[in-house]
């Protein structure tokens, strides 16, 4: 089981949990497991074409998965995945 960290803005779509343990051997499998468990998260992570949105980054430990094979990046038991969305800070325009 690998751990996946859910950031504050997305916790409302994941029953308010900050992290969960999921089985899977690639980043894609873990993310699929996550959105299967919390279907409301799907539209926040993926666009209409099913690709990860460009303002949501996923890290395997401290490495951006865009540079290590994207969804096919291999995940080991002790690894931690993090979802890091862009935040602007302050008020809306």
């Amino acid at each position: 089981m690998a751990r996946i960290l859910i950031p504050t803005p997305l916790r409302q779509f994941a029953e308010k949990q900050d992290s969960i343990e999921l089985a899977g051997v690639t980043a894609g499998e873990i993310l699929t497991g996550l959105t299967t468990r919390f279907p409301d998260l799907r539209k926040h992570l993926y666009n209409e074409e099913g690709k990860l949105r460009s303002f949501v980054n996923v890290y395997l430990n401290d490495e951006d998965i865009r540079y290590i094979g994207r969804e096919s990046a291999a995940v080991a038991e002790s690894d931690t995945l993090s979802i890091v969305p862009s935040i602007a800070g302050g008020r809306n325009v």
Binding site: P7, T8, P9, Q12, H44, R53, S54, F55, N57, Y59, D62, E63, D64, R66, Y67, S82, V84, P85, S86, I87, A88, G89, G90, R91, N92, V93
Partner: protein
């Protein structure tokens, strides 16, 4: 260039810097010769401006066009209660002059735009981004990349913050991290989601530290690393931040060579010339008249329970937006509903949701409980 020196008063003022060999007289003179542009004097900008002034940066430029209001005071410590209603830039300059009269302060009382950004930024050694919205963040980033100026970045939301240094000596930029902004409305702002008042102090001072280190040329910069801070777990984490070879502004095949329209880039529509009358909206005054007439309708407040505790409209029924899908079966598709939240954004989503679920008599109360307080009942507190 004329020789920069420290006066007797300045030597006394900076003595705790001067006795550290890592700073010393040479370092303090570097600080005095340096110029920093601070974009925004809000949550992040407040501690940044105060500490950078105290540290003895020679020239600090401030960009802000906002006015101090009561909701700022919970975190924007550069402004005080007496400053409510004043331009933030005036209040910030007054505080900074009091902290350190030796610093030269430049006023840029304007919004940073594609037209003025390069002109303003070119006169500074580095930029510290204390802005609060995506269009300005991308604008600051692109202008810094084009001018080859380091951009010290910080951002906050609720209990979490991010910080790094972009565009340092050709290093990764904001677009390498996030190629595109989220569409408007998908990511909640601090005004909707809230922010812990102390949080911008922590993140702003990480930015100030990085700015001072860059000027002194000491230590290891945050460039190439994204620092994440979570106040609730009191944890700092660090992620690798790589230069994206496909980055449209700093990559191998650049497609952006000048500043663009950042409102459009962030999907924010330009103001329409004619206000459009929206049949799905209703003014708070009309809602009050409906209550007074005894009309048969239900006002549904879709805010969170902790907001309902702060203030509420008498007669409203609480169904938080997140619970609406579960509660929809308890509502009557033929009945009349008016949806309400704090400012009208969440209740707009609730209105759309119910309309799509087949409810045909649902409207959104324009401006939320804030507008109710302005137009109907001033005794309802605003927050």
């Amino acid at each position: 260039m004329s020789e920069v020196t420290l006066s007797k008063d300045e030597i006394l003022r900076y003595s705790r810097h001067l006795i550290m060999p890592e700073v010393g007289m040479e370092g303090q003179l570097k600080l005095k010769r340096a110029s920093v542009l601070l974009v925004g004097t809000g949550g992040l900008g407040a501690p940044l401006a105060m500490y950078l002034a105290a540290a003895g940066i020679g020239r600090i430029g401030l960009v802000d066009f906002d006015v101090v209001d009561y909701t700022n005071l919970q975190r924007q410590v550069i402004h005080g209660t007496k400053d409510v209603g004043r331009p933030k830039i005036d209040s910030a300059i007054e505080t900074m002059r009091d902290i350190n009269p030796f610093v030269v302060l430049d006023r840029h009382e304007t919004a940073l735009t594609s037209e003025n950004a390069l002109q303003i930024i070119k006169d500074y050694d580095l930029v510290v981004d204390g802005t609060d919205n995506f269009p300005t963040r991308y604008l600051v980033n692109d202008a810094c990349v084009l001018l080859n100026k380091p951009n010290v970045y910080g951002s906050i939301f609720r209990f979490e913050g991010q910080a790094t240094v972009f565009a340092l000596e050709g290093g990764p930029c904001y677009r390498c991290l996030y190629p595109e902004p989220p569409p408007p409305g998908l990511v909640p702002s601090c005004a909707e989601g809230g922010v812990l008042g102390i949080l911008p102090g922590v993140i702003g001072l990480i930015q100030a530290t990085e700015a001072v280190k860059l000027i002194l040329g000491i230590g290891t910069s945050l460039a190439g690393r994204l620092m994440l801070y979570d106040a609730l777990s009191m944890k700092f984490r660090e992620l690798k931040l790589r230069k994206n070879p496909e980055c449209p502004i700093c990559g191998d095949h650049r497609t952006i060579t000048k500043l663009i329209d950042y409102q459009e880039f962030c999907g924010i529509p330009h103001q329409p010339a004619e206000p459009v009358v929206d049949l799905s909206e209703v003014d708070p005054v009309m809602v009050k008249e409906k209550f007074d007439r005894g009309d048969n309708f239900t006002l549904i407040d879709v805010r969170e329970p902790h907001e309902y505790q702060i203030c509420r409209i008498p007669g409203s029924k609480l169904i938080p937006l997140g619970d609406l899908p579960n509660q929809v079966s308890t509502l009557d598709p033929d009945a009349e509903y008016i949806m309400q939240c704090k400012s009208g954004v969440r209740s707009g989503k609730a209105t759309d949701f119910l309309r799509q679920a087949g409810f045909h008599n649902v409207r959104n109360m324009k401006g939320g409980i804030l507008a109710w307080s302005d137009k109907v009942d001033p005794s309802v507190p605003k927050y």
